[in-house]
Structures are given as structure tokens and as C-alpha cells.
Symmetry: C2
Subunit: 273 residues, 2 copies
């Protein structure tokens, strides 16, 4: 038997599945963790989703996502993020993934936008900590810097997170977004105990229009997963390893086949040999 | 009259124009510089293109491009790059833009690929210097790291270039590729006299499929051109400022209209107020 004990599958990897199908599918496949998204969880019912996963014996490894904190109208964004914290707490996960948001309309000021994120973190972190939830700042690939996330490198995420206690604000290491960065090894070491989530997807080309759904199945692209595993492992991180792939080809297939392939690729390309 | 004395238009910005149309159009518009590409120049004839531009009183500010030096079969790539040097010399430009190339098939080793680029630069730089041509290493946006250019930041380009004398190997500062990088100001200062070309395009979204043709007209996106101008100016760079936009909308329009718009946007968004 291969060791799937740390494997988690993000529900967007198999978005063709309902939450009950996801729960049943993971149990059948021996995958112990799931990463969830707010919209489908809200639709199903937060408490009901929490019960579903608990009854199936599954661990909710993260909730995606809060964030989008760079806009001019701060109050609604903060209120929505507090709800996201509440949902994470209800689901029993300690990790709320935050995607910062892009440049406000008409702005060219990336630095200023990141400072707004810092201000929002200062407001949200105590609220989250009171509920046992850690905010996990996720750097997204620089191709998303203008319209989705002004935090583009792990170094930038750490520049934000390090203003707060490590147990309150962590960072996400997502191979898809960070694989290209020659400073990544140093930044992972710097992250240390701040690594709140380790997410996997492969980098493949050509990128599709809009570039959001261009992620590759593990092993189909250029990411050196074993090296990144070693770097993350060296920090002492022993938490879940979550596969999060947005790819329309995967969504068009049978969910159980996709999950079996994910587990297979995880063993073949990610787990230390 | 606005000061267009440093403006150059890369021919790919108006690829609907033949070389004679480009020459005539630039003269008419008062644009003194052109950046050329190897394929259309070869098709027209290198010597003939050189004469055309010289007779029009235009300066060839750069030749795009050499490079693609990361593959296993080094000899043909080096031979082709020597031809590119010869063409640059014949055109009377001192700047040959190099795009490094992506990962070799099956490789996941970005660092190793960059070292191959360094080895190739060592072979090419003396040949180029003998012909009055400087190699200009161009970092491309990280979204091209796997399939087009393993050099993704100005810092990485400098790590390569600084192994050689500044007059032999320089770097390209292209706003489209570098605007997102929070280390850019420091890296431009570090570049100093190594800046061999300053190229402009704006960053707009959504990106099209393949992401190659997603560049925006100056002022249509999020790039803070005036700030980048100041940073480059502060190094002492006083050379051409070359507008290089790959965009199918621009290519579908009347070339003279596009060039007039480029000049107008250059004055309104780039030149110091």
C-alpha cells in the first residue's frame, strides 16, 4: 500500500462531484483529506457539509478562500472575510486561504495595494485566532498580479505574514504559482513554521485564454515536486499535501478516475521515492 | 512639438507594414528609431533592409532576436546566433536581443538551463564584441519560464550578464515582463550601464490563449511607465525607448493610425511630464 496519509484533494480538482460524491469518493480511494471552497459549501449548507465530512472520517484541510482585500470599500470585504473565518471554524479546518485581490480599478500601485492587504490582515487576524483559524496568505503567479492577487512571490507573502505571529498568519506554498522562482528555496526555509498549506498542481503550456484553468495534472508538466517536497519537509512541515488543479479536461472525466489518477501521480511524482 | 527623439517602434508593433512602409511611416510620423526582427529582415534582404533604413535616416535600435540556447544540440543554436550577430552588425545596431529559451524537453531543471545560457554567452560574446554588437539578455515574464525563457527576472538576467564585461553583455528592461516585480527598482539600479534596451508595452487582462499576443497599448493597462522611466533614467541610460506590442487588435488597424497612437501614448504616458 502506498502512503496516502497526507494526501488531500481540493474539491475544485473534481468539481464535477457534489460534496456527498466527494466524501464517498475520497473514502473509497483512501484519500483522507479534502480542501473545500466557500460557494459549494454555502450552497450545501456549512454545518451540513461539516457533518458530512466528519461522518465520513475526512479531514477538511483548508477552506478557499477569503481575501480580495485591496479595494476601496473595505468594510464589506472584511465582513465577508469574517464570515469565511466562521465557515472555516464550522468546518473544523484551521486554515483559511486568502487570495489578496488585484489592483483597484485605475490603480498602478502594487506596493500600496499590498499595504492595504496588511491593514486588512491586522483587522482579521485576531478575529480568526479567536476562532482557531489561521489566515494563510497565498501568493499567486505573477500573471495574476493585476487582476487577482498583488502578492506574487513567497517572499512577498512572508513580508506580509511576518508582521503577525506565526500562529495567526501563515502562507500557502502552491507549486503552480511558485515553481519558477529562483528564490523559492530560500523563501521556503524562511517561511519555516508559517507554512499553513502545501498545494500541488503542475505547470503546463500552452496556457488557455484567461489562464485560470491551465493547471496540469501532477507529472504532466515541469514542476519538480520531489525537490519542493524536500524543501517544505525541511522546515518541519508535516501537514496535509493538497492537490488543487483547475483543468477542464479533468472536469470532463469520471470523478473516480480523476481521483485515482491524482493518487497515482502523487505516489509516482511527489512522495519521496 | 513633443519630443520623440528617443522613440523607437519595434516592427512587430505594426507587423501589417512591410519594411518600406515602416520606413516611410516612421519618417512621416517623426519617429526616429525602429526595432527589427530577423525573419522579415532576412526575407527582405539584410543589406537591403540596412540601406532602406539608412537612406530614410532611421536608426535601427535593436535586432530581435537571438537566443534559444538551452537545448541539447548546442552547435546549431550557436551558429544561428552568430548569424544573428552578423545581421545586427549589417543593420548597424549594437544591440542583439537574446531570449534564452525554455526548458529542454523532459527537463525540470531551471537552474541548469540558465547555466547553459551562461555557457553560450561565453562563446558568443567575444564573437559579437568583435563585430560591435552587444548581447542583450532579455528576461521574460515568469509565465514564459517553461517554454520560452528560463530567465524570468531582471535579477536573473544580471546574474548571467555580470559574468561578462558590461560592454559585451547587457540586459533588456521590458516593462511588460518586469512591471510586477517588487525587486525591479533595485535591479534596475544594479543594472546601471548594462541596460542595452528599454522596451515598452502595457499589461492588460484577460490574457489570450497562449498569452503571447496579450500586450497592451501604452496607457491601456496597469504599468506605471513614468516611474520606470525615472528608474531607468537614474542609471544614466539615455538610449532609445522602444515600443514593442504584440496585439492582434493593433495589427488589424491602419498602420499609420497605430503609429500615431503609439507616439501620442508615449508622450502622454511615458515621457516625463
Amino acid at each position: 500500500m502506498s502512503d496516502l496519509s497526507r494526501l488531500s484533494v481540493n474539491q475544485e480538482t473534481i468539481r464535477q462531484w457534489s460534496l456527498p460524491e466527494l466524501a464517498e469518493g475520497c473514502v473509497t480511494a483512501g484519500v483522507p483529506g479534502v480542501g473545500l471552497w466557500r460557494a459549494p459549501v454555502q450552497e450545501y449548507g456549512v454545518e451540513r457539509a461539516a457533518r458530512l465530512m466528519r461522518d465520513a472520517g475526512l479531514t477538511v484541510t483548508s477552506l478557499c478562500r477569503g481575501g480580495f482585500l485591496t479595494g476601496d470599500d473595505r468594510a464589506p470585504a472584511l465582513a465577508d472575510n469574517r464570515r469565511a473565518v466562521d465557515e472555516a471554524a464550522a468546518l473544523g479546518t484551521a486554515t483559511l486561504v486568502l487570495v489578496s485581490g488585484g489592483l483597484p480599478p485605475g490603480s498602478r500601485d502594487l506596493h500600496g495595494a499590498r499595504e492595504r492587504v496588511a491593514e486588512a490582515l491586522a483587522e482579521l487576524a485576531p478575529y480568526a485566532a479567536d476562532r482557531g483559524v489561521r489566515l494563510a496568505v497565498e501568493p499567486l503567479h505573477p500573471m495574476f498580479a493585476s487582476d487577482r492577487c498583488v502578492v506574487s512571490t513567497l517572499g512577498q507573502a512572508l513580508d506580509l505574514a511576518e508582521r503577525f505571529p506565526a500562529e495567526r498568519v501563515g502562507v500557502v506554498v502552491d507549486t503552480y504559482h511558485l515553481w519558477w522562482d529562483d528564490r523559492l528555496a530560500g523563501d521556503i526555509a524562511r517561511a519555516g513554521s508559517r507554512i499553513a498549506a502545501f498545494q500541488l498542481a503542475d505547470w503546463i503550456t500552452p496556457l488557455p485564454a484567461g489562464v485560470l484553468l491551465g493547471r496540469g495534472q501532477l507529472g504532466d508538466g515541469v514542476v519538480d515536486f520531489r525537490r519542493l517536497w524536500e524543501l517544505v519537509e525541511a522546515t518541519g512541515y508535516a501537514g496535509p499535501v493538497e492537490v488543487e488543479i483547475f483543468n477542464e479536461d479533468l472536469w470532463s472525466r469520471d470523478g473516480a478516475d480523476v481521483l485515482a489518477e491524482v493518487a497515482d501521480r502523487y505516489v509516482g511524482h511527489v512522495l519521496p521515492a
